[in-house]
């Protein structure tokens, strides 16, 4: 085969260009730590990475949803817990108000129960981030409004919310209830199983105010039963909230774990093996140096150098 004047330079140019391209690719991989940047680098891997990252973003959103629900649930728990403490004292008063005490003594309790009623209404209208917690889905409407008599005592409490709650996704095809109703089948203050704390507090206050022996008897037979229903309702809600909190913890942990487990899969597709890349880069750099040295030597020598 004839080797001509252009053979060496053309080959050398092509070899140097090829080595430069390889160096550039390896350099980029070493500095970015990525094996792929554009889709055309490895379409299959890119497709997989896009799918995995999409999944990661969804899982991250589920974690955010968990935080949102947890915030609502924690605030609701706090409000219900305060109501329960109020209720505990009312229940105690209902027990204390027996026929052994004078009507005057019993009437003193009436003032205390009236204040408890005011507190209960206040707690029932708890707002968080401008949203009423116990209004169902009518969350911008104040759920409990009151009617007062001439002595400014609450004579009636009206529920303006509804009985609907919302569910929020915390995982694929998995939801948790994220709101509460004041009244209804699962109402926090009034349910279908006899709980109606506002009414029971008003009745207790009124009976304590009149404080006849018949009233005291009625407290013992009817009001205490009503308050027992209220207590059962609070306990039900505590257990529901506890279960929800536990589920939120589990969902969050699962979402975090899944998102974390996706990372190695993404890394496997997208990231570079740094050791291998650096060794390869070193090899290419050596080849590049060798090409320059040998090319320079060959190009600088010809028959002319040996002719006088």
């Amino acid at each position: 085969m004839r080797v001509t004047a252009n053979s060496f330079p053309i080959d050398l140019r092509q070899q140097l260009a090829s080595l430069m391209k390889k160096q550039s690719t390896l350099q980029m991989r070493a500095t970015t730590g990525q094996r792929i940047e554009n889709t055309s680098d490895d379409p299959r891997a890119m497709h997989k990475v896009m799918g995995l990252q999409d999944e990661q973003r969804k899982l991250y959103q589920y974690q955010k949803n968990v935080l949102n629900v947890r915030e609502n649930v924690d605030i609701a728990y706090s409000a219900i817990d305060s109501m329960k403490k109020t209720f505990d004292r009312a229940s105690e008063i209902a027990t204390l108000a027996d026929s052994a005490k004078s009507p005057e003594t019993i009437r003193v309790y009436a003032h205390e129960v009236n204040q408890m009623l005011e507190s209960a209404v206040q707690l029932a209208n708890t707002k968080h981030r401008n949203v009423y917690l116990f209004a169902g889905t009518k969350s911008l409407t104040q759920p409990f409004t009151v009617t007062r008599d001439t002595e400014d005592r609450i004579t009636a409490v009206t529920y303006n919310g509804n009985e609907k709650t919302i569910n929020i996704d915390v995982a694929e095809n998995s939801m948790v209830p994220a709101s509460f109703t004041g009244q209804g089948a699962n109402g926090v203050l009034k349910n279908n199983k006899g709980a109606d704390i506002m009414k029971h507090l008003m009745d207790l206050r009124d009976l304590l105010t009149t404080a006849t022996s018949a009233d005291v008897e009625k407290i013992k037979t009817e009001i205490r039963q009503g308050l027992q229903n209220d207590e059962d309702n609070f306990i039900d809600h505590f257990s529901v909230i506890g279960a929800t909190q536990s589920r939120l913890d589990t969902s969050e942990a699962i979402a975090k774990k899944r998102a974390f487990s996706l990372e190695p899969l993404i890394s496997k597709e997208a990231d570079v093996d740094l050791a291998e890349t650096l060794v390869r880069l070193n090899e290419i750099q050596n080849a590049y140096t060798a090409a320059l040295q040998t090319g320079g030597t060959l190009l600088s020598t010809s028959l002319l150098d040996y002719l006088r």
């Binding site: 252009n6 490895d42 949803n65």
Partner: protein
């Protein structure tokens, strides 16, 4: 009776002339050593006619019979064919790389995505996910003005990405039209030049005065340049006249330019991908010219196939998104408890004009996220819109928005990758042929210098003959 002293002197003179001419040709070769289009030349030396003598025919030296170009014409044709294939893949790859950059779906693992806490991408894919995620957040706080505002902003970002991708790809397709126009101008200039030089070759070679070597070198160079733009075939008749055809149509007939390229926009029942696009036709004949190779075909294929496909896919995803989101939004109620069934979330019909309804931008409270009147805390519609991220959409062959888009991007990437592989293989073939041609036609400096030494020695020897004969003649003259 031989040729005598004067005959010998004449023979040596011819020999000197042959050596000098050979040295000149060597000089010419050396001067073109760096010219890759140049085919080395040799002088053709033939013995002078023998002189009949009583002892038999006696040699009278040598004469220069002509110049010979060392060229393999079959290899030249192969090279032209390979060049238009290389150029086809090269222009296609360059264009697709531009499209890939304009698509903007780049993986960047070093930048931490504040929304997911992970390294992310910077394209449409994550904007689609983010959009649905903001509706997830809205479903968790349906009355929150902040979440409503974020949903609107996320919708705007998504719409902006769709529009940008669509517009950038549209601009690229329009830019390709300009490139085709430029290529057509260059083809016409080359056709004209090839026709003119072919006529000069014909004129030079008439009367058998030898081959027009340099003109043929130049024409070959122009053939190879023309092959960068289009495929073509050439034939030569017995008189050496050349005919050049593209896609079965004659453009140069026996050295005469008979037609040229022209760009045209199809108006007769164009398909969607052809609307407003440039194609190639002949100046003197109707109908499109079906160029199958070179830059022009590469540009048309990249524009009408791969780029149009990804653009169309993006458009389908956008159209599906508009339809699905709007259908749900129309059934909902806003924070004021009102339903407006004609209030869309997205306006527009596709990626080119998608935008968030201005009413919602001005007042996010108007987002219809609740399924019931006067129940602003209801999140049914918000949740349904968020769930669209997992819905198998019938208009997208029952794939989700992300799946369809990701598939389209992967398919596009595969197309780019395939063209890249084809180009690498094609460049290797072309390099091999170039090397083969260089082996045959290229100038070797060592070879030329070695030849030069032979010619120099021959010149010196011929000079010695002249000086010897001269001495003999002087001796003869001294006899008087």
């Amino acid at each position: 009776m031989g040729i005598g002293l004067f005959g010998t002197m004449e023979m040596a003179r011819n020999s000197l002339a042959a050596s000098r001419t050979a040295a000149e040709v060597t000089g010419h070769n050396l001067a073109n050593a760096a010219n890759p289009a140049y085919a080395r030349q040799r002088i053709k030396v033939e013995p002078s006619p023998a002189l009949p003598t009583t002892e038999g025919p006696q040699g009278t030296g040598a004469n220069v019979a002509g110049f010979e170009q060392i060229r393999d014409y079959t290899l030249d044709k192969f090279l032209v064919n390979e060049k238009y294939l290389t150029s086809y893949y090269d222009s296609k790859l360059t264009t697709l790389m531009q499209a890939q950059a304009r698509l903007g779906q780049i993986l960047d693992r070093q930048t931490v995505d504040p929304k997911s806490g992970n390294g992310g991408q910077t394209g449409l894919a994550e904007r689609i996910t983010d959009f649905f995620n903001t509706f997830q957040s809205l479903s968790a706080a349906p009355t929150s003005n902040t979440e409503r505002r974020l949903s609107v902003v996320s919708g705007q970002e998504l719409a902006d990405r769709f529009q940008r991708a669509h517009d950038r790809l549209n601009t690229l397709r329009t830019d390709i039209n300009s490139e085709i126009n430029n290529a057509v101008e260059e083809v016409n200039r080359l056709l004209e030049s090839i026709s003119v030089i072919s006529q000069r070759i014909g004129a030079t070679e008439t009367g058998e005065t030898g081959m027009a070597n340099e003109l043929r070198d130049t024409r070959q160079q122009w053939f190879e340049t023309l092959a960068k733009y289009t495929d073509f075939t050439t034939t030569e008749n017995n008189d050496g006249q050349m005919t050049l055809m593209v896609a079965g149509q004659t453009f140069i007939d026996e050295d005469t330019l008979v037609d040229q390229f022209q760009t045209t926009t199809i108006t007769d029942n164009p398909t969607a991908k052809q609307v407003g696009m440039s194609y190639v036709k002949m100046v003197n004949k109707p109908g499109l010219l079906n160029v199958t190779g070179g830059k022009i075909r590469g540009l048309i294929d990249a524009r009408d196939d791969t780029i149009y496909t990804i653009q169309n896919e993006i458009n389908m995803v956008a159209a599906g998104l508009i339809t699905e989101v709007n259908a749900l939004h129309a059934t909902g109620y806003d924070l004021n408890g009102a339903n407006n069934s004609s209030l869309k979330f997205f306006t527009g019909t596709g990626a080119g004009d998608i935008a968030v309804e201005s009413t919602l931008i001005n007042d996010p409270r108007r987002i219809q996220a609740s399924a019931y009147a006067n129940e602003p805390g209801d999140n049914t519609i918000a949740k349904q819109i968020a769930s669209l991220s997992q819905k198998a959409v019938p208009t997208l062959t029952n794939l989700t928005f992300n799946e369809r888009y990701n598939n389209a991007v992967a398919q596009f990437g595969q197309s780019v990758s395939n063209v890249e592989t084809h180009l690498e293989a094609q460049e290797a073939v072309e390099r091999l042929l170039l090397k083969q041609r260089d082996t045959i036609s290229g100038v070797s400096i060592d070879e030329e210098v070695a030849n030069l030494m032979i010619y120099q020695r021959a010149f010196q020897a011929s000079s010695r003959i002249i000086s010897t004969v001269d001495a003999l003649l002087a001796d003869l003259l001294r006899l008087k």
